[in-house]
């Protein structure tokens, strides 16, 4: 006599053992949830200590569709001093082109006038290596400053340009 089972029937005996397994699963879920919460708390603490709101500056990067400019790298200077640089993998570029925003730099500045320079390197539609840049003058006041560097497509000129947006918090 041969046995042959193709269907997945759940009987009462299995239900009992499943329940105790699900208790373990719930405990594991609780552990994951608590870890996530603690991660969040420590992140806030770390930011408060290292980058207090009064001196904090953050620089973000976003990309439009990437049709006219395939991003390869970016450099950012503040008052001619290098503060950030990044080389993009294909995956990271895709993530930006699908709508993601990257936090490129987080630092501290005291109050006053500054000039930000951003240089983007990439490849245009014809496969040529090109650079796009932006300069932006800003005043650092006594609260957080967030600046977004957007690589935007210009369909009229068939080129990309860099637009700087300062977030209003």
């Amino acid at each position: 006599m041969f046995t042959f089972a193709l269907t997945d029937a759940v009987n009462a005996e299995e239900n009992q053992t499943v329940q105790s397994s699900s208790e373990l699963t719930r405990q594991l879920e609780a552990l994951k949830s608590q870890t996530l919460q603690l991660n969040r708390e420590l992140f806030i603490l770390e930011e408060d200590l290292l980058f207090p709101a009064s001196t904090q500056i953050a620089v973000f990067v976003s990309v439009d569709t990437g049709r006219f400019f395939a991003l390869d790298s970016v450099e950012v200077k503040i008052n001619d001093k290098d503060v950030a640089g990044f080389l993009y993998t294909d995956r990271q570029r895709d993530a930006l082109e699908q709508g993601g925003i990257q936090k490129l730099y987080l630092g501290n500045l005291k109050m006053g006038q500054y000039q930000l320079t951003a240089i983007f390197t990439g490849v245009d539609q014809e496969g040529r290596m090109v650079k796009r840049a932006a300069e932006y003058e800003f005043e650092k006041e006594d609260d957080s400053l967030m600046i977004e560097l957007k690589v935007v497509d210009n369909t009229q000129s068939n080129r990309s340009q860099v637009v700087v947006e300062e977030w209003i918090l």
């Binding site: 708390e41 290292l50 993530a95 840049a133």
Partner: protein, 702 residues
């Protein structure tokens, strides 16, 4: 008193002292970089756009950056951080959070998020927040509930799965097939009452999974009815219905519709490196469905003893299929029943050689030996049974070795893990994988697989907790550094006697302001004269003195006139330049006022911070609390790992016992088979020897 053309040096010095402490500073440079480099195409854009910022959108997109790199863990962390900063998330971000929670196995959290989702949508609509984002809210809620149901079913938690399904109040035609399948699974094997479809919309009830589940249900019901003789007629009807469904599945090409972002987030477990990989997987899935339908069809035919039909069905079964083993076994059985003994023999031999650890392989070995003893000589039959007996003895030894090795293994995740790198382009397999065939077989049990996944998760969580603990050590050092720095600043501040400096600074500023005011009132243009002009004024004055001295002795009228002309020109020049110079000095005074205000403000802040003891204390308290919680969690993780390990060992032990029983049964029946053959051999020899004794007597009589 004169007002110098530039800031007083004393004032500059005072401002420098006051501003140079405390905060970090960046070197100021005014050089403009030339960004046009030879041989490269470069553009400079000074455009700046300052728009009102939708922070919910910005933070959501920061999480998307990680999500699109398949880093769900980091994406979820980002969402949590956004929640902490923004205090709440909008409906889109909430749903995204729920999807990420589901993918990370946080079902309870996801359920909580989804339960509150309706209220969130209503609140947004009441506040007239952009409906563009919440326009698809009901659809997204539906997708998330379907996903939640799917997850609960995968965990075997049928009650929760039914609860999630019950929350669905209406269903669109697009998601009806998924809803139908999940309902079938949640209420299996009973019939399920489905929600009505949208009026005017047709529903695709022809999804292969729906048809397959219907067919399986009919087969199960038929089997139950077949065992009860009263309902055996009904079972035939149900078998026919199942045959019709399976024939439809077998002869149709199935293709999944492309999924949008939300469907991919909630309902797709596997990620693909490229579209072609995804297409290949879809083709494989479609083929697998057809294979399974073909297999079920063959099983029905065998149940109905229509062996020829089963044989014909399985003759065309593909060689490469997830169901090859089962199909081979059925084919071998059908071949025996239709008298195709050579085919049956080849298949049975192939099965027990290629699948030496599976129960189908073991059955095949016995059947093969039995067939040999029936179809060929008894001697060959004995030999076949002896081979099969050795085969089972080897399997038993194998199983004992596995049991010992498994019991001796401390860390279950280190038990013969897979060391071969995955093939490029292949879909990345999640979960624990092993090279031990026995354990691979045991892992066919969903509960055991889930336990192993839990164990892997615990190790991942333990690593994360350890990283966080390391971070707390580092943060404690930062706090200690900040405390020392603060103490140093306070000490420096106290040593400098800033009130005295301020007093002097203010006095100096007031003095200069007074001079300016007086000069403005007196309208004396010579006040703002530069050095060269002062020299000229001095020379004019000297000349005037000399002229007055020699007035009595000589005719000085001409000299007087010439001096007056020079003085007039100089006065006119000074008068021309006076407004601009006055404005310039006023601006400089304003600058000084601003600088003093700035420095005063800084000093105030420093005094406040110096006086405030509790700013760092709050951080210290938070850090201590976090450290304590993390240590507790590490402890809990250790205990949980132990519980999982105990549970896994129990499950594997159960499996080993089952296999031992099976092997013992097979060994016993093999030996019984061998005994039967030996008995037949003995009978045959006995009858032959009787015949040979009877024949000489007959010869003798003639």
């Amino acid at each position: 008193m004169c007002f110098k053309g530039s800031l007083s040096k004393r004032l500059k010095c005072l401002l420098l002292i006051l501003s140079c402490h405390g905060m970090c500073s960046y070197a100021q440079g005014n050089s403009n970089e030339d960004l046009i480099e030879s041989g490269e195409n470069t553009e400079i854009n000074d455009s700046k756009a300052v728009n009102k910022t939708d922070l919910q959108d910005k933070y959501y997109r920061q999480a998307l950056y990680y999500y699109f790199q398949d880093n769900h863990d980091q994406a979820l962390s980002q969402v949590e951080q956004s929640k902490a900063k923004l205090q709440h998330l909008d409906s889109r971000a909430s749903l995204f959070e729920a999807g990420l929670q589901l993918s990370e196995g946080l079902l309870q959290q996801a359920k909580k998020t989804l339960v509150n989702f309706d209220d969130l949508i209503i609140a947004e609509q009441n506040n007239q927040i952009s409906n563009r984002k919440s326009a698809r809210a009901n659809e997204l809620l539906l997708i998330s509930l379907l996903s939640l149901t799917d997850q609960y079913l995968a965990q075997g938690d049928i009650t929760q799965a039914k609860e999630s399904l019950a929350k669905i109040k209406s269903i669109s035609s697009t998601y009806y097939p998924q809803y139908h399948v999940l309902s079938q699974l949640a209420y299996w094997p009973d019939d399920v009452t489905l929600l009505p479809t949208e009026p005017g919309k047709s529903v695709d009830n022809g999804s292969p999974y729906i048809l397959l589940n219907d067919a399986l249900r009919l087969i199960e019901q038929s089997r139950e009815e077949q065992s009860s003789t009263e309902q055996s007629m009904n079972s035939h009807g149900k078998y026919q219905q199942a045959i019709s469904l399976l024939t439809t599945i077998k002869s149709t090409s199935w293709q999944e519709k492309p999924a949008d972002f939300w469907k991919t987030l909630f309902l797709n477990e596997v990620s693909f490196a490229s579209q072609s990989d995804e297409q290949k997987m879809q083709i494989s899935q479609g083929q697998a469905i057809q294979d399974y339908a073909q297999l079920l069809l063959a099983q029905i035919y065998i149940s109905q003893q229509r062996y020829k039909l089963a044989f014909n069905e399985l003759e065309s079964f593909p060689q490469q299929s997830p169901y090859t083993e089962s199909a081979l076994f059925l084919f071998a059985f059908a071949s025996q029943e239709v008298g195709q003994y050579d085919i049956a023999f080849s298949l049975l031999t192939l099965l027990y050689q290629d699948y030496p650890y599976s129960s189908l392989g073991w059955q095949s070995a016995e059947l093969m030996a039995e067939q040999v003893s029936q179809q060929r000589s008894l001697g060959q039959g004995i030999s076949a049974f002896q081979n099969v007996e050795n085969f089972f003895l080897l399997r038993q030894q194998d199983l004992r070795n596995f049991a010992k090795a498994f019991a001796d293994q401390e860390d279950l995740l280190e038990f013969l893990p897979v060391t071969v790198m995955p093939v490029q382009g292949a879909v990345a397999m999640k979960g624990f994988q092993t090279e031990s065939v026995w354990l691979q077989q045991a892992l066919y049990d969903a509960e055991l697989t889930s336990l192993y996944q839990g164990l892997t998760s615990i190790d991942e969580q333990t690593k994360k907790i350890q990283l966080l603990l390391n971070k707390t050590t580092w943060l404690a050092e930062i706090i200690a550094l900040n405390k020392r720095r603060k103490a140093l600043i306070v000490a420096t501040n106290e040593a400098r006697d800033f009130p005295m400096i301020y007093k002097k600074l203010s006095a100096e500023r007031d003095r200069l302001a007074l001079i300016l005011t007086q000069q403005v009132k007196s309208n004396d243009h010579t006040v703002f004269a530069n050095d060269e002009e002062r020299l000229w004024l001095a020379r004019i004055k000297d000349s005037d003195t000399i002229i007055k001295t020699i007035e009595g002795q000589k005719n000085t009228e001409e000299y007087q006139q010439r001096l007056s002309r020079v003085q007039g020109v100089l006065s006119w020049q000074l008068a021309q330049k006076n407004p601009q110079r006055m404005w310039s000095h006023k601006k400089q005074l304003q600058y000084i006022d601003n600088a003093i205000a700035g420095v005063t403000y800084q000093q105030q802040k420093i005094s406040e911070l110096s006086a405030k003891d509790d700013s760092l204390s709050i951080h210290v308290a938070k850090l201590q609390h976090s450290t304590f919680e993390l240590k507790q969690q590490l402890n809990q993780a250790g205990k949980l790992r132990e519980s999982f390990t105990v549970k896994i060992r129990a499950k594997v032990s159960e499996y080993i016992d089952e296999q031992n029983i099976l092997l013992a049964e097979h060994l016993l029946s093999t030996r019984q088979g061998m005994a039967n053959v030996l008995e037949r051999m003995a009978k045959t020899e006995k009858s032959l020897s009787r015949q040979s004794i009877a024949e000489p007597d007959l010869v003798g009589s003639y």
